[in-house]
Symmetry: C2
Subunit: 251 residues, 2 copies
């Protein structure tokens, strides 16, 4: 905690410059400020000017430390992973480890506003993030699933988690803008589905009561379980599609 507005005492030799030891602008501080704006204004209003204003600095100063807005977003994406822990692989409990991984990932994506929007469209293939990918692959690989299944399982999981969290945050945004609650919105949606003409929409009407749950947790868990069962079903099978490239169509 520094106290910026204190006058300089006369017995200290006053430094020549007006702002003694002003906090230097760094990539870290810029990312901090960007997250402050993201929390307060949301992804769509996150602009270089807002970030600069938050730091009390001219816009162009940011470009000394950051190439692009894209560059800044990439830094924010990287920051998102900080402190995210993935355990040592345990072949006996790989499913529970993956479940835990997925839950914590979703939790993180929903912990701050619009984080899912930020994550969507980025790929964790940078040097800073590859360790996380490696550890996830280690956990999944311990299951003994075939190589080719393993190669896409990480992608599938993160696509599912990101997609799910994005949809959740879209609904959040929608009911925030409509000045109502998730409870109310959910009720309206389910009533809408129930009120459809049953002759033209028999399936939707029949599912109206469970299309949206009071909490999304159960839906998330079930989707996760579906993927896990799918992955597990390949354990013990030989690597599928060794002759791949020809035989994926038609049949």
């Amino acid at each position: 905690m520094t106290q910026p507005d204190m006058p300089t005492p006369p017995w200290e030799r006053p430094p020549r410059r007006r702002t003694p030891a002003r906090v230097p602008l760094t990539r870290e501080r810029i990312v901090d400020a960007a997250f402050t704006i993201l929390d307060r204004e949301g992804y769509d209003r996150l602009s270089m000017r807002q970030v600069a204003a938050e730091l009390g600095v001219a816009v162009s100063a940011l470009y000394v430390h950051v190439r692009d807005k894209d560059d800044l977003l990439q830094l924010m994406y990287t920051r998102m992973f900080e402190g995210y822990e993935i355990p040592e692989p345990d072949p006996e409990h790989w499913q529970e480890q993956v479940r835990d991984f997925a839950r914590r990932a979703r939790e993180r994506l929903l912990s701050r506003r619009d984080l899912a929007k930020l994550a969507m469209g980025h790929v964790p293939f940078t040097p800073e993030l590859l360790p996380y990918v490696e550890r996830l692959m280690a956990v999944l690989g311990a299951s003994g699933m075939p190589r080719r299944v393993l190669a896409i399982s990480g992608d599938m999981l993160s696509t599912y988690i990101n997609g799910f969290a994005l949809e959740e945050s879209l609904w959040q945004q929608r009911y925030r803008e409509a000045h109502t609650s998730w409870h109310k919105l959910r009720e309206e949606i389910n009533e809408y589905f129930a009120s459809l003409p049953p002759d033209r929409f028999p399936n939707l009407v029949a599912l109206a009561d469970i299309m949206m749950d009071e909490s999304n947790d159960y839906r998330f868990e079930l989707g996760l379980e579906i993927i896990l069962r799918g992955l597990a079903s390949y354990i013990g099978e030989p690597d599928p599609g060794e002759e791949h490239g020809e035989t994926h169509g038609e049949s």
Copy 2:
């Protein structure tokens, strides 16, 4: 088919105004123009002004027919589904029907530039699109899977398809901007993975040769198969989580 540039024959009484029967601006024509811009410039450069220019019209004229840019994007999203056919449900072949649905959806998403970006962040819960959801649910429901699994299966499938296509188009964009080819980019990526220090990244190094395929088709099919196997595994089981709301954690 009207023929706009034909001169007015002299035996027809010429209308008083200079531009005889000028094409009226409609929502349809605006969406057409928007797709022209999307194809030519990409999603990020799709702006109201570009659309207006394409139509030879002032920007503000668009706002007579379209509330928002969001409104226009919604119209484009709806247009995407036009002519998309989903077959009558056949309980014997629901898996093949779903595979076919997914392949055609991906094909459509990749048929035009940045269509996946457009699709991401939209939900097909509008009156025009509900019939498609209904038909998909019919096909899935014919499998006999439990209600709660059915309720999220559609979401899971479209999340997977959209996410996969989005990732594909992201790579496309990346190698377009780098002025190289997918073949080259893929080779570089795989070489990069292979060149990682094997002691810190044993799993990534071991998978380097199949992290990215020459074509993404096989990866898409395999991911689809994983979901299908997961879904199929629930057929015959009682509806899971009837006591839901409490018991989805820990155990």
